[in-house]
Amino acid sequence: MKKQFYRHGDLGLLKIDKLPKELRLTKTKIAMVGSHGNNHSIDTGKLYFKKENDFVFGYLVAKNTNLLHPEHKDKTGKAKIPDGIYQLIKQNEYTPQGLIPVVD
């Protein structure tokens, strides 16, 4: 069975069942920093940062959470995700030199 995956621009959110152990809660509401001042943020919810590999960089516990980004809401309005636990994933692209994070 395929897992539920949400995409907010170059930020991916994979729905998972439980949080890994020994995570530290952060105070920030910025999930992923973008260049040009365009950050991916949340209005409510809990963020934990932990780099697991080239893609996974943290976790989100969402409760009435809207994803916010200055450039990704013109047509869709607020990006509300279902309550639950998510793995935060950065989009990468392939180059002749190897895999690199998408820089925007």
């Binding site: 897992k3 539920q4 200055p70 990704h72």
Partner: protein, 382 residues
């Protein structure tokens, strides 16, 4: 204390006018009102219970000069006095900035917030917040001020200088984190006739005048620096900084930014892009996805045919009825063809090319997030 429980129809009608009025103030160009600033920054120090620096207010003509000069000056003052003084002075400097902020805007904000009335604060305040405050903030600080602060911030950190905190002046009229927002407080005071304590009202007026009189400013125990307004702010129909003819934002000393549809470029690149002097190979070699996207937007698309071995490997329609393709072509000195997933963002309508090592759209998209197409289902996308 007179509480505001509900907005009248007239007050509701005033929200759009108030928004437009403050957007105009936030995007104002031309000469700054230094006289008003000089008078009110002294009042701000007084409200903070601090001695005003003995030096006259230093005027600069671009935020880059102000940010570098304030950081360098702060650095020299600290380094010249030894480590122990440095630590103390740094604490004092920070304290000055915080004290001025607290004295003139934070106090105002909390006073206005509590005066609106606790049981209806979310209703009234959020209505005014979204219709006035957030709208002004989006147009002024997010679309214009953030490009300047990002460029200046990079320059200061490249110079390995300690950041000297600043006030955004006109770019912060719609607020910035916990800093007070003149457009919101003035709406409650002037339109809703909110009664505040004399001292709080005076602070609100001081911060209002500081923000609307100048661009950025820096407060310190030893000096105050203030920046003139931009001479030009050019925007596209979406309100993003944009100009194909000149700097989209420029200050009196000639410093500014070349920007296309909200994306900042070095002058050399900006010039090549607006004059369509980049080959597709050069465009696809750009590391920054947004730069690549803008360069492609400006490119004459018939140039794509010039790419050696150009092929469309897969072509589908995505869940939002947008076309999605995988293209490939050859470039000099690289044996394997380059492949790109060509997608259209469903929320912005923008077209992107993302490097891939796969031949199909679905696999390329899933793999860009570290999965196989059989692992995940894109439930919703923005």
């Amino acid at each position: 204390m007179k509480y505001i429980k509900k907005l009248t129809k007239k007050q509701e009608e005033m929200m759009s006018k108030w928004r437009d009025k403050w957007i105009k103030i936030g995007l104002k160009t031309g000469k700054a009102d230094f006289k008003t600033f000089d008078k009110n920054i002294k009042l701000a120090y007084k409200k903070a219970g601090l001695d005003f620096p003995s030096r006259p207010v230093i005027r600069v003509h671009s935020p880059i000069v102000g940010a570098l000069a304030s950081s360098i000056a702060d650095n020299i003052i600290n380094n010249g006095k030894g480590e122990s003084f440095s630590a103390v002075d740094s604490a004092v400097r920070s304290a000055v900035g915080s004290a001025v902020s607290l004295a003139v805007d934070s106090a105002v904000r909390s006073a206005v917030g509590s005066a609106v009335g606790s049981e209806v604060v979310s209703t009234v305040r959020s209505a005014v917040d979204s219709a006035v405050d957030s709208a002004v903030d989006l147009v002024v600080r997010s679309a214009v001020g953030s490009a300047v602060s990002s460029a200046v911030g990079s320059a200061v950190s490249s110079a390995k200088l300690q950041w000297h905190y600043w006030f955004g002046g006109q770019f912060w009229v719609g607020g910035y984190y916990w800093y007070g927002d003149p457009c919101l407080t003035s709406f409650f005071i002037e339109v809703c006739k909110l009664k505040l304590d004399k001292d709080i009202k005076e602070r609100a007026i001081i911060y209002n005048k500081l923000c609307r009189s100048v661009n950025y400013f820096w407060t310190n125990k030893h000096f105050v620096m203030v920046c003139d307004r931009p001479i030009r702010i050019s925007r596209n129909e979406r309100g993003q900084l944009h100009s194909t003819k000149e700097m989209a934002i420029e200050y009196p000393d000639g410093w500014g930014l070349y920007i296309l549809n909200g994306i900042v470029f070095e002058k050399e690149w900006w010039d090549k892009i607006v004059n369509d002097r980049m080959s597709p190979e050069e465009i696809f070699a750009i590391n920054n996805l947004e730069h690549r996207r803008i360069a492609y937007e400006f490119m004459d698309k018939t140039k794509m045919k010039s790419l050696k071995g150009y092929k469309v490997l897969d072509e589908v329609v995505d869940n939002y009825k947008n076309p999605m393709k995988v293209i490939s072509f050859k470039v000099k000195e690289i044996d394997e063809p380059l492949k790109y997933l060509n997608v259209v963002c469903n929320s912005t309508g923008r077209e992107y090319f993302i490097g891939t090592n796969f031949d199909t759209c679905e696999e390329s998209k899933a793999q860009s997030f570290g999965f196989s197409k059989d692992d995940i289902s894109f439930t919703q996308e923005w």
